[in-house]
Symmetry: C2
Subunit: 347 residues, 2 copies
C-alpha cells in the first residue's frame, strides 16, 4: 500500500492500493470517531461499488445510511445539495458522524461541501472511483457546487479525514472517462515532473495499467506538494491550472457536452504549447495526448474561445492569470491584461 500524507490545515493520509475498497471500513475507523456514516454516491457507482463499500463499513462496526443521486455533472447543483442536507437531518446525522463520498468528482465535490457546511462542519472521507477524482479532486480540499451562472461558483475549503484510492475500480470506467483522467495525469508531468511525463509517454491507453498505481501515486504526490505550499489557492497552486484557461473556455463553448474536462484540458495544453514551446516539445505533448485518445485541438476558432477565457475566479481587475510550460516538467504563472491576452492568442 502506498501512503501519501497531506499536511494541510488538518493532516490526513491518501492510501493507494488495488482492492483497498473492500477494507475501507477498517481504514475509516482509524480516522474518525464517528459511529454513523452517510455514504453519498451516484446511481452508476452505487450499482458497481455501493454494496462492497457498505459491507466493509458495516463489518467495521459503522451504522450506515446511503444517499444516491442521479449520475452526471447536472447533479452537482443546489437542488441535490439541499436533498443531501434534508437526508442528513432525517437520518439524525450529528456533527460527530461522518460522510463518505463514493464516486467521481461530482460525489466528492458535493459531499465535501455538505461536510463543510452541515452543522458548520463534520468529518468526511473520499473514496474516489474515477481516475480524475483520484489524481485531482480528492486532493486539495476544494469542494463546490455549480450554479446556473457557472461551474464551481459556490464552495468551501474542507480537508477529508482520509482518501481511499483503489486503482482496480478504474477498470470498470467507460474508456472515455478513463481518458478524461489521463488529461490531468499528463498535466502533472508537464508542470512538475519530466520523468513522470516520460513514463506516461512510454505507454498508451492499453498498456498503462501495469504502471498505473505508480502514476497515480506520483500525481497525488505532486498535487500534495503544490497544495501544501498554497492551501488556500492564493499563488503557486495556480500552476495546476495549466491547460485550464483554454480548457474551461472549450468546455463552456461546447456547453459542457462535447468535451469532458480532461479532454478540454488536453486540447488546452496542446494549444498553449503551440504558442510557447519549441516545435519538438509541442510535438511530444501532442503524441502523448493522442496515445490516450485525447484531442490536441478543437474545431472552434480561437477567436471564439478567447472571450470565454477567465470568465471565472481567475479573472480579477481586468487581468488574467494563466500557466505556461516552456519545457516539460516546469510551469510558470503569467499575468496579462485580458486585451493583451486576447491579441496574443489571436495571432
Amino acid at each position: 500500500m502506498k501512503t501519501i500524507t497531506v499536511h494541510a490545515s488538518s493532516k490526513y493520509d491518501i492510501l493507494i492500493e488495488n482492492g483497498i475498497i473492500d477494507h475501507c471500513g477498517d481504514i475509516i475507523k482509524k480516522n474518525t470517531n464517528a459511529q454513523k456514516i452517510a455514504v453519498i454516491t451516484d446511481d452508476t457507482v452505487n450499482d458497481l461499488y455501493g454494496e462492497r463499500t457498505e459491507n466493509s463499513l458495516r463489518k467495521a462496526g459503522f451504522d450506515v445510511v446511503k444517499f444516491v443521486f442521479p449520475h452526471g455533472e447536472s447533479s452537482k447543483c443546489a437542488d441535490t445539495l439541499i436533498k443531501i442536507y434534508d437526508f442528513l437531518c432525517e437520518n439524525g446525522i450529528t456533527r460527530t458522524d461522518c460522510l463518505a463520498a463514493l464516486g467521481g468528482g461530482v460525489a466528492g465535490d458535493i459531499t465535501g461541501f455538505a461536510a463543510a457546511t452541515f452543522l458548520r462542519g463534520m468529518d468526511f472521507v473520499q473514496i474516489p472511483t474515477t481516475l480524475l477524482a483520484q489524481v485531482d479532486s480528492s486532493v486539495g480540499g476544494k469542494t463546490a457546487i455549480d450554479l446556473k451562472g457557472g461551474k464551481n461558483l459556490v464552495g468551501a475549503f474542507k480537508q477529508p479525514v482520509c482518501v481511499i484510492c483503489d486503482p482496480d475500480v478504474l477498470r470498470t470506467l467507460p474508456p472515455e472517462i478513463f481518458s478524461d483522467g489521463m488529461g490531468e495525469v499528463i498535466k502533472y508531468g508537464m508542470i512538475r515532473d519530466a520523468e513522470l511525463f516520460d513514463l506516461i509517454a512510454e505507454h498508451n491507453r492499453e498498456t498503462v495499467w501495469s504502471v498505473l498505481e505508480d502514476i497515480i501515486a506520483k500525481c497525488i504526490g505532486i498535487k500534495r506538494d503544490v497544495v501544501e505550499a498554497d492551501e488556500f489557492d492564493t499563488g503557486e497552486r495556480m500552476i495546476l491550472n495549466f491547460g485550464h484557461t483554454l480548457g474551461h473556455a472549450i468546455e463552456s463553448y461546447y456547453h459542457y457536452e462535447t468535451y469532458s474536462h480532461g479532454s478540454a484540458v488536453a486540447a488546452g495544453m496542446c494549444m498553449m504549447a503551440d504558442r510557447t514551446c519549441d516545435k519538438e516539445t509541442a510535438e511530444r505533448l501532442r503524441k502523448c495526448v493522442q496515445a490516450y485518445d485525447l484531442p490536441v485541438s478543437v474545431p472552434a476558432d480561437i477567436k471564439e474561445l478567447v472571450p470565454l477565457c477567465g470568465k471565472d475566479k481567475k479573472r480579477a481587475g481586468g487581468q488574467l492569470r494563466f500557466i505556461v510550460c516552456r519545457n516539460i516538467g516546469k510551469a510558470e504563472i503569467h499575468t496579462m491584461q485580458f486585451d493583451s491576452f486576447a491579441a496574443w492568442m489571436g495571432k
Copy 2:
C-alpha cells in the same frame, strides 16, 4: 467612537457610535480592497436605512448593487441563499468584491454564509440594525441558514472584515424586537459580568437608552473574549448558551411564533435559575427580565419542553451539555446523560 478589536482567525474591528451608519462607506473603504459592494438586506430595513447606507457607500467610491429579501426568519433558507448566489453571479461579483449585511440576524447570518461560500469565500461587512444582532450575531463568525429540519443546521465560520454598530438605528425597532435583544444583553451580565448586570438592572426599557452605547460595547467585549478563547465552538464558548437549552425548546414548542429568541432565552434563564440559584438571585434575575418586558416563564409544562431540549448540535452520544449560573456573573458548563437531565428538570 468605541472600537473593539477581535483577534479571531482573522483580525477585525467592531465600531460602535451613534450615527455611524452615515459614515459606513469610509469605514468599509479602510477594511477591504473591494471596488464593488453587494448590500444584502430585508424590505423593512431597506425602507429605513437602505438609502443612507448606499449613499455613504457611493460617496466613498464604491460601485453598489443591492439585493432585498422579505423580512423575517422564514427568509433565512436555502431558497433565499440561492437567489443571493444567482444575484451575485448576474451582477458580476468577483471574489475581490465585498458583501454588506444590512439588518438583523437573518441578514447577517445568510449574508455571512454567502460570503463564506460564494467563489469559496470573499470579504463581508456587518451593519447590524437590531440589538440582538449588534450584541450577538455580529460577533463570533457563526453564519448559517435554516433547513426544514431545524434552525442554523447549515453554516460556516466566517469572520467579517469589520462590524459597524449604530445604537441610534435601534430607536426605530418595534418595542418587542428591542426587548428581544435585551434577553441576550441580560445573559451577558449573568454569565460574565456582575457589574454589567447591575447597570442593566438599575434601568428599564424606557430609561436604558442613556447607557445603551456602553451596555452594547460591554456585551460585545464579553462575546469577543469568549469567542477569542474558543473560535470554533469546541468548549468554553458554550457558556454563551445560558438560557438557550430551554430557550430553544420553547421556541420550537411554540413553532417559532409565540416567543422570539430573546424572550425564550429570558424565560429559559429564569427557569434554570429557579433550579440552580438561591432564592434572592433567582428573584433579582426575574425582576430584571420583567423590567424589559420579557417573560420569566411560559405556560407550557416543563415535561413537554424537556424532550425538545438539545435536539440540536449540543446533544451528542446521548449526553446533553448545558449552562448553569449559580451566581450572577459566573457560568459553568454541565454535562448530563439526557435521561438524568429530563428527570432533574421534571422534579
